[in-house]
Symmetry: C2
């Protein structure tokens, strides 16, 4: 059985937040939006429907939990939830807290301008805060 490995492009663009029961949670290192990724810790998964029934139920629940947490922490105007994977096929689910004055509104965030990384300390502090918030759900 192949082992889970995180795509190098996902590692490069993110700050680790923590592990839920199925998914690794990553903070996109882009200070323009509160933007999390959920990546199931299983090998060879491209689509939701590549997951077995147990893990489908897990990831839906984790999307709900992360969404509730994002709503509580950021009071977004709208959440964006998406699994695209055209560039990085490893299944990763975006949960993005959108606001009316963010850099891309009302467009989707992908491909709009360049990432603006967090200041190193700020990224770590935010990741720790979101990790704690997920723990307290």
């Amino acid at each position: 059985m192949t082992q889970f490995t995180l795509d190098s492009r996902l590692i490069a663009d993110t700050i680790p937040v923590g592990d839920l029961s199925l998914s690794r949670v990553l903070l996109m290192n882009d200070s323009r939006y509160p933007w999390l990724l959920l990546v199931p810790r299983l090998p060879d998964i491209r689509e939701f429907i590549d997951l077995d029934m147990t893990n489908r139920a897990r990831i839906w629940r984790e999307i709900e939990d992360v969404s509730e947490m994002m709503r509580h922490e950021f009071s977004p105007h709208k959440l964006n939830v998406a699994a695209l994977g055209n560039v990085v096929p490893q299944l990763h689910v975006h949960v993005i807290a959108r606001s009316l004055d963010d850099a891309a509104w009302p467009r989707p965030v992908w491909g709009v301008g360049d990432r603006i990384p967090y200041e190193p300390d700020a990224g770590q502090v935010l990741a720790a805060r979101l990790s704690a918030a997920l723990g307290y759900l």
Copy 2:
């Protein structure tokens, strides 16, 4: 209690496919991609987490069913599954069958060029075919 009504912009851009247990299924009238929308037939729902637990389970299941059907019918290179709602806030879930030679690949489909509507007959025929395919899942 408010009644369910479909946002007029969703009506304008789509061809009806049919109703699942929770969602109305719509075919995006854009011949560049096989592209379905799922819209829960409930009033005042903007986010997945606005649904109660029973209906959350329903919509996840319906996303799985529509995804399986799309994979079977179109053998896409990748499925895109997304709930954005920045322009039309009524919850609608995109399930899009992407291929390596489609008009937007590898970009997301939103905001890329203009819709190319189906020929009227072709759109109705495809909607009927997908409706049947969903019934036979």
